[in-house]
Symmetry: C2
Subunit: 396 residues, 2 copies
């Protein structure tokens, strides 16, 4: 019997996807090259040639039965060991293969992390603005998503608001830094204070509150900064990583969950993930993709284009009078809408062939997101459209 549960969800269409479909339709009219499509967070630079070479080499040199064979339920040991070594060396945390579970992207990592540390009915807290898919991810695990309102001054954490959301029923906190959609990276001060709050709350409520850190944009940091690795600040951290952005492989569905070796029951996290997989039909990422990525842990795509695009946009937005935080990373920027209703603003922007996503679905009305993972040339061509939009619709 087909039930209403999912039929109803069909109506709950993603605003981002709807806007992307508008861009495609508009592109059919005027040429897609003339649509300034800032809707989707889809990498625009190719994967590094090392990835292609690694996969070709595997196909040419490995026995097919072994190359394409089942991964063990905890994923491929050699890949887990390589990821652990890479994280150990970069961040100084003593991960071993026992702490790494390869997943189908960050979505797979989050699906496991949530089920691992929270029981149905418990609460997971995240911070606005947040990736809209967190809602189906959390609710799909039978959990309740609670959202801390945005601190729009700098998109760091409003700790007073967080304290008000913590309850005995809080199982985990879900952070995303650098952040989609704000582009903000949490400072070391923010992460230090967050760790303190979680340690105190864990003590107060008598159970460990886990920190789930969603880090697909970890390698896309601007201004020559190095990352403040979240798990270094709080032991009970499950790091959810994806190679989608760093290696431009979003369709290949490859990432991992890394359990801080100092977390509660650290040696049980990966075995528990393997059990969770049975119930949700996950059963490891594609074996050849796991193996190819393991050979590219030192590489990234050429990510410099994103910073170049950001600088162009940021300068123009500031010049046009937008209130906007300069992103610390990612390929998003999240300015304040020139009118309080960002949905209305987004509609007006379409007249200038600009696809800008209203912040409402990120839990932050009055702002809008631009995903500048497009060519720099197109960013440049979009600047006059932005200017025309502002001068025509919002004359000073």
């Amino acid at each position: 019997m087909i039930t209403n549960q999912y039929l109803q969800s069909l109506a709950d269409k993603s605003v981002i996807r709807t806007l992307s479909e508008w861009s495609t339709a508009r592109g059919a009219e005027i040429g897609y090259d003339n649509v300034f499509d800032y809707s989707l967070g889809n990498p625009s630079v190719p994967c590094p040639p090392q990835f292609t070479a690694a996969l070709e080499r595997l196909l040419q040199t490995q026995e097919p039965v072994a190359l394409h064979g089942y991964s063990p339920s905890q994923s491929l040991p050699s890949v887990r060991a390589a990821v652990a070594e890479n994280l150990r060396r970069r961040f100084g945390i003593p991960y071993t293969a026992a702490h790494i579970f390869m997943t189908c992207g960050a979505a797979g990592a989050l699906a496991h992390a949530l089920r691992c540390v929270a029981a149905p009915g418990q609460e997971v807290i995240t911070f606005a603005p947040y990736f809209p898919e967190y809602k189906p991810y959390v609710e799909g695990a039978g959990l309740v998503l609670k959202v801390v309102p945005p601190r729009t001054a700098d998109f760091q954490i409003d700790f007073d608001a967080l304290e008000r959301q913590l309850t005995p029923n809080t199982a985990a906190i879900l952070v995303n830094t650098p952040n989609n959609p704000s582009g903000a990276a949490y400072s070391a001060a923010t992460l230090t204070r967050l760790a303190g709050v979680l340690a105190a709350a864990s003590q107060k409520w008598g159970h460990i509150i886990f920190l789930i850190s969603d880090e697909p944009y970890r390698e896309i940091l601007f201004g020559g900064k190095t990352v403040d690795y979240v798990a270094k600040f709080y032991p009970h951290t499950l790091t959810c990583y994806s190679f989608s952005k760093s290696l431009s492989l979003p369709g290949e569905r490859i990432g991992y969950l890394a359990a801080n070796p100092a977390c509660e029951m650290a040696d049980k996290i990966v075995p528990i993930c393997a059990q969770i997989s049975r119930g949700i039909g996950h059963n490891c990422p594609a074996s050849s993709i796991q193996l190819a990525v393991a050979e590219c842990l030192e590489q990234t795509s050429d990510l410099t284009v994103y910073e170049k695009n950001m600088e162009l946009l940021y300068a123009k937005l500031v010049a046009l009078g937008f209130r906007v935080q300069k992103p610390g990373g990612t390929f998003y920027i999240f300015p304040q809408s020139p009118e309080p209703d960002a949905v209305a603003f987004s509609e007006k922007a379409k007249k200038y062939d600009l696809a800008l996503v209203p912040g409402d679905s990120f839990g932050c009305p009055g702002y809008f997101r631009m995903a500048y993972c497009i060519s720099t040339e197109k960013v440049q061509r979009s600047l006059p459209a932005l200017e025309k939009l502002m001068h025509t619709e919002y004359p000073r």
Copy 2:
């Protein structure tokens, strides 16, 4: 807070996996080549060269950004269309791309099918002997698995027993033909009668009971038979397929769900699957694997070795006095144990370096499974060990 839910499941270790680990350990002592490891259903023949060539060609000729880009949430349109065309032509059912949802193997297909047609708390009925992972698959979706006892005379369906299990709370029936572990393929007569029973029960209870058909062994049929395609017998059928066995790609996690265009709400099944994916972190199989498989829909690995192995084993088992049904397909055979306790028999078999899986975990005590996806040469060498086991432990 890490809960007991999954910690407890860690103790629930797979008998098959335990036996496979015994084989590996024993292999470390006497050489794995001397262990007659019939434990795991892992294909032993390589993928067809066309698959390797297709993936290499994609890597060499496609733009990386497109090749490795996100699949739409309903999976890649060109791949869905190719699968639909293939099924249409082979089985005469008017599938279109709208009815096909690409999944991470049969496990992914089943995870979606179960959530699509059943609401938490509803019942799913399967037939012993059955693949033990059905239990976590069904329970992971919040459903109740009910098992119809085996009809050991021929491993077809005991319809009287099925009728006793049908209730107003039955959402779906889960079949697996050709069957793991029995090797039996349902006859057209069985499938016709099953369709009649389901149509009558659907009418009686006032809701459609879906048929979920798990078909990873569809192409491994013996005796020159062609498949009785399950969905041809009952309109409300969701076919769950995997290329793991037919193309020897189990680690690449690639398969599909095909909704019979005549089923209830046929045009909603795939959109519902895309919604389900968000909640379980599935998000489509790897894009390059989807594309490569779409070019190999007419191919299979060389599957003849399985029939050769089956004939060798079947003849020897019969000669040794086993009660055994001749498999109609798969790479499994499921003889009756020479003593009622198949676990005790399996323990004795280890003394002869034979890894035989007791039928208890398949819901069929007193039988045992041999997975003969190993080299024919090893099957031949195992025959004297089988003989010695029988003559020593069970003298007439």
